[in-house]
């Protein structure tokens, strides 16, 4: 996955992304951080062609996404799993149906459909809630259902937009462990988040956006940049960021 000089100007809005370039190798686990409005969601939406950038090139698994013909879009999206910031579960379908929906759409049916759906629900720990409707379960459970739907078709690349937003730290940690586990089986991960402690705890590659520009790319970063963390550690040695801090490294 590669972005080259990508910029995005929303229809009537400000410049959401400006000359963003980076590369993610297969199997990597990458956090995308930045203040609200810095362009994280916009960047993820460019990757699954929900949005077309106004400039630059985007490569996913050898396909250039921006110039992709409309007919090619479904096959691009089948390679991706996406956890949307607003879940996008269908309110009139059970969690099971919501998850199996992603398989129906790509022509899976019968026993494999049931098996894989149950597997995915079980993996995110909401199998007991399978027959419930989204409004009958908690926000965290909805979020996990959204995650189950994103992984059920075994995507090569998982895009997650705030997968731990609105969750308590413990549940967040659980989701993050799940994401790491999924990553271990080879799925490339790009996770947009505000969750500072979690980013610090996991200690993986961090991309930081600021006002639509990529301002940091650290191989094993924390939520704050290395310099700030050093400053913090000097001030309060006990509460410093966790994880080894290395210098920034171009993608």
């Amino acid at each position: 996955m590669k972005l080259a000089h990508v910029s995005l100007q929303h229809a009537r809005g400000a410049l959401a992304l400006e000359d963003v370039s980076f590369k993610v190798e297969p199997g990597e686990f990458v956090f995308l951080i930045g203040q609200t409005g810095s362009g994280k969601s916009s960047l993820l939406k460019i990757l699954n062609r929900e949005l077309k950038p106004t400039g630059g090139e985007v490569w996913v698994d050898g396909t250039e996404v921006t110039s992709l013909h409309r007919r090619g879009v479904p096959s691009l999206r089948r390679k991706l799993g996406v956890v949307f910031q607003d879940f996008r579960l269908l309110p009139d379908r059970t969690l099971f149906e919501n998850v199996s929906f992603a398989l129906r759409v790509i022509g899976v049916h019968g026993k494999p459909l049931n098996q894989r759906t149950i597997e995915a629900l079980d993996r995110v720990g909401i199998l007991p809630r399978a027959r419930m409707f989204p409004h009958q379960v908690s926000g965290g459970e909805q979020q996990r259902a959204a995650l189950a739907r994103a992984i059920v078709n075994r995507p090569q690349l998982l895009l997650a937009d705030e997968p731990t937003g609105n969750l308590d730290p413990e549940t967040s940690r659980g989701i993050m462990d799940l994401l790491l586990e999924i990553n271990c089986s080879g799925t490339t991960m790009l996770i947009a988040t505000h969750d500072q402690p979690l980013v610090d705890a996991v200690g993986r590659r961090v991309l930081e956006l600021q006002g639509g520009r990529l301002v940091r790319d650290e191989a094993q970063g924390g939520y704050d940049s290395a310099e700030i963390q050093q400053d913090l550690e000097e001030l309060h040695p006990a509460t410093g960021g966790s994880g080894a801090v290395k210098g920034s490294e171009p993608g």
Partner: protein
């Protein structure tokens, strides 16, 4: 493939159920439109049948006064045969006409009082040209032996005018109604699309192809149209059977004809027409209102 199709059928059913009032409106409109269309088509067809039984354009039918003896009739026929511009002369004897008439009369009881044959002898003359038909008709009308004369040109012209009117009026009405029905279906599909836009968006985002997303809506529209067509067919067949048993035998000319209705044919063609309307309406709507990407 089959499983996917079953899933899409179920999706179509769910869509339809959620929008059942709209679908009902679709079915009703289609039914009304197709009943009108079918009604006009059958009317035109029967006018055509009636026209068939009337003297042709180049025929003159002479009804001879009942008092004229058969020998005189034969003399008249011989004279006609000799005159210019006449290609054939044929006699329909009153006895035979009477037998035919009695056979075609549904209730014999009405005729019981009539022992005498009230029908006249009929001479059918075929001329060589429509102009000759007119002049010949004028000539034979002057005969003291002729009671009445039907010349093909006149009767047929009037009938054809009526038929033309029915056909044109019916066609316009039917086309308008059919367009209206297709529009209704299209509109219902548009509302369904709007109601389901979130589902559609999610389907698109998890990689559904356009065909997959569109099919349930097209199935839904086509089904609604087909049901409307079947209803129209049933309505029309029932109505016509009723008419042919009650009203039609009372009307002269029409009573002589068998109503040429095959209910399954009527029902079948209207069902197909309904399916086509529904298909057209939903495809147009889906192409127009289903935003891609």
């Amino acid at each position: 493939m089959i499983f996917t199709f079953m899933f899409l059928l179920r999706e179509a059913w769910l869509n339809g159920f959620r929008q059942r009032l709209m679908i009902l409106a679709c079915v009703t409109t289609t039914a009304v439109a197709l009943t009108t269309l079918g009604g006009f088509a059958l009317l035109a067809w029967h006018v055509h049948l009636i026209a068939d039984a009337l003297p042709r354009r180049i025929e003159v039918h002479i009804f001879v006064r009942p008092t004229v003896p058969r020998t005189r009739v034969n003399e008249l026929m011989a004279a006609l045969q000799r005159s210019q511009g006449v290609s054939r002369v044929r006699l329909v004897p009153r006895e035979i006409a009477w037998q035919e008439f009695k056979k075609s009369w549904p209730g014999p009881d009405v005729l019981d009082g009539l022992n005498d044959n009230p029908l006249p002898d009929k001479i059918e003359v075929v001329t060589t040209s429509p102009d000759r038909t007119l002049t010949l008709a004028r000539e034979v009308r002057a005969w003291p032996e002729s009671e009445s004369v039907r010349d093909g040109a006149q009767v047929l012209q009037r009938l054809l005018a009526v038929a033309g009117f029915i056909r044109a009026g019916g066609l316009i009405a039917a086309v308008l109604l059919a367009l209206g029905a297709a529009w209704m279906v299209g509109n219902a599909i548009r509302l369904t699309l709007h109601a389901r836009r979130r589902d559609i968006r999610v389907m698109q985002l998890v990689g559904a192809t356009n065909a997959f997303i569109r099919l349930p809506f097209i199935i839904e529209g086509t089904t609604a149209g087909t049901i409307g067509g079947v209803l129209a067919g049933a309505l029309l067949a029932a109505g016509l059977t009723h008419l042919s048993n009650t009203l039609l035998p009372e009307i002269p000319l029409v009573s002589e004809l068998q109503l040429a209705i095959d209910p399954t044919l009527v029902g079948g063609s209207l069902a197909i027409a309904g399916a086509v309307l529904g298909l057209t309406g939903s495809i147009v709507s889906v192409r127009r209102y289903l935003t891609l990407d």
